[in-house]
């Protein structure tokens, strides 16, 4: 394992350990009773104890998160592209976009269950509702930052609107798209859990948490919260991983060894030595 890989693993690990240490220290420092807030070890112990119950519930929440995330990302991207193409569409939809996020999600969650039932659909809609906004705004921002001279040049050279979009505008959305996706990834699980809280058939991670809260099993409440957090972090890291694979030029500054672009150094600036 290379030093940089080791470092990439150890630093985040140290931050997690640090958070747990501060959490445990605060519990002891203020003498917080375990039925109010457990120590990290008690919470993790509750997860271990109920793992056979929690694991399928976590998978279920993850499934809701994935479907909602993909739906929200696609919707956000399409909306942004549509809004970037026509000014009137942008002016018309932008306030709606902002307004959609100003609505407390819990207020629309209950009507969604009434309309869509107790299955996965309302959870997917809630997650998509949360995810589409950062994606749409980020992509829209990326499209707005395209160099107008570049577009004018391409147009002067006879580029069609579709080709200009594909060659110039679309690549400009990649960076902002992943920024939006990463923001959405951190919130997506929250949406799924809210959906589960408002209405679910059978068991759910939120239902488990509510039941544990009802039984005054505080360690299990915090343990399930840790699990939800882990799902959110895991999903975020997955998006980061996909970003690294999809956009290697954003994270790698070394000279490509083979193929197209071998003669181009990404970090080469005019005036630098070759």
């Amino acid at each position: 394992m290379s030093r940089s890989t080791l470092r990439a693993i150890l630093i985040p690990l140290a931050s997690v350990v640090l958070v747990f240490a501060v959490w445990a220290a605060l519990i002891r420092l203020f003498g917080v009773d375990s039925f109010v807030a457990p120590t990290p070890l008690e919470a993790l112990g509750a997860v271990r104890e109920d793992w056979s119950i929690l694991w399928p519930l976590a998978l279920q929440t993850l499934e809701e998160t994935i479907y909602g995330f993909v739906a929200g990302a696609v919707l956000g991207f399409v909306l942004a592209v549509g809004m970037a193409q026509t000014r009137i569409v942008r002016d018309l939809l932008y306030p709606v976009l902002v307004g959609s996020q100003a609505v407390p999600i819990i207020a629309i969650a209950a009507p969604l269950v009434i309309l869509l039932g107790f299955g996965i659909l309302p959870k997917v809609v809630i997650v998509a509702w949360i995810v589409f906004f950062p994606v749409a705004v980020s992509v829209l921002d990326g499209l707005a930052r395209v160099d107008p001279d570049l577009v004018a040049l391409a147009r002067a050279m006879g580029g069609s609107r579709a080709r200009i979009f594909r060659v110039i505008r679309l690549p400009a959305t990649v960076g902002p798209l992943f920024s939006g996706l990463k923001i959405g990834a951190t919130y997506a699980v929250t949406g799924a859990v809210i959906g589960e809280l408002v209405g679910s058939t059978g068991s759910s991670l939120a239902g488990y948490q509510r039941q544990a809260n009802s039984s005054l099993d505080t360690a299990a409440v915090w343990g399930s919260t840790l699990l939800m957090t882990a799902i959110g972090i895991g999903w975020f890291l997955l998006v980061v991983g996909i970003e690294r694979l999809a956009t290697p030029w954003r994270t790698r500054s070394t000279r490509p060894r083979l193929g197209f672009g071998a003669s181009i150094r990404p970090d080469h600036r005019p005036g630098d030595a070759p």
Binding site: R28, G31, D33, P40
Partner: protein, 346 residues
């Protein structure tokens, strides 16, 4: 020192802090609950009591407390009561255990779990003396044991529903697999919109809610008449440390609440009016509050007409039900759940 060593040092420090912070337990601290006994109030001054409610917001179940305050029963008893509200329903017992309140209105399941967790609280009197939990259908839809098969039944994912529903299903000759149980956050709109066939709740909240919304009575299947144990749903409970330090105040509180309950029973409409004046922003209609309080009144007295009195059987039956669904490992001796010592018999 290079950066790798600094990183390793930081990691080691973090692990060390975690081990130090997590090592050892504070079981004694957790069990004591609160900051100990409250000293007696100076002669002539009322004893200040903080009472925590069973729900994060106020509703008609606070009528006895409001009446006791407004009619001067608390003042006569020498107590000055402040009503506080927990951040969520499940925290009502915790608020009491931490000593943030001295006395609390909690569910009997909360009390059973509090004993399991060693929270240091004890039930001092029934609020309701009977089980008014049941299954409900929207107006015009009959409900009986033989109509439950294949129905979509909503619950709040709470321990009470989890404990009681199997009894009713068993009485109907059904199991979990014969019905679809869904967990919801608010059952009334789902029931009235036909999204669930049957809702589970207590009569005082569901009947009043349906009457308020539709002007008609829902179909009711009371669990206690259909296989479930007839155990009270709500009790007054006390922080043990407070009770040890000021038993007289606890007795005085119950005496005042008893007088208020009797008055509010004889004058339900005036009592509700008094409640609505005390809490003008309670968020419910007068129809809801009146129907809810009148329904509650059916359950506040025991079979012998007494208020508050508890017995071993109710706690054992409840604990057995909770053990049956795996929520309790063992049924504690009944005396660990309650005491009638603070109920004045005069």
């Amino acid at each position: 020192m290079n950066r790798t060593r600094i990183l390793a040092l930081l990691l080691a420090l973090a692990v060390g802090a975690l081990v130090a912070a997590c090592g050892g337990s504070d079981s004694e601290e957790a069990a004591t609950g609160g900051d100990g006994a409250t000293s007696a109030a100076p002669s002539g001054e009322p004893t200040k009591l903080t009472v925590s409610y069973s729900w994060p917001t106020v509703d008609f179940m606070a009528v006895p407390l409001v009446v006791a305050d407004e009619m001067g029963y608390f003042a006569e008893a020498g107590v000055d009561v402040e009503l506080i509200f927990p951040p969520d329903p499940a925290s009502s017992a915790k608020v009491l255990a931490t000593g943030d309140s001295d006395i609390g209105l909690i569910t009997t399941t909360d009390m059973a779990f509090a004993v399991k967790e060693g929270l240091g609280i004890t039930a001092i009197g029934n609020y309701t003396t009977s089980n008014n939990w049941g299954l409900f259908t929207k107006p015009g839809t009959p409900i009986a044991l033989d109509t439950l098969k294949g129905k979509k039944i909503s619950g709040y994912g709470d321990s009470w529903t989890k404990a009681m529903l199997p009894f009713v299903l068993d009485a109907a000759g059904l199991t979990d697999g014969d019905v679809e149980v869904v967990t919801v956050d608010w059952d009334l709109p789902l029931l009235l919109n036909g999204k669930v066939d049957v809702a589970t709740n207590t009569t005082n909240f569901m009947v009043s809610g349906v009457v308020d919304e539709t002007g008609e009575q829902p179909g009711v299947l009371l669990a206690k008449d259909n296989g479930a144990p007839d155990v009270p749903v709500w009790v007054y409970a006390v922080n043990d440390a407070f009770a040890e330090g000021d038993a007289e105040a606890v007795t005085a509180f119950l005496r005042a609440v008893g007088e208020a309950t009797v008055w509010a029973s004889d004058n339900p409409e005036e009592a509700v009016k008094m409640f609505e004046q005390a809490y003008p922003d309670n968020g419910y209609t007068t129809t809801f509050n009146t129907a809810g309080w009148e329904d509650t009144l059916q359950y506040v007295r025991g079979a012998d007409g007494s208020l508050f009195l508890m017995d071993d059987a109710q706690w054992t039956a409840l604990a057995e039900a909770l053990k049956g669904i795996g929520e309790l490992d063992e049924v504690a001796p009944a005396a660990e759940y309650y005491t009638n010592d603070f109920i004045s018999m005069d």
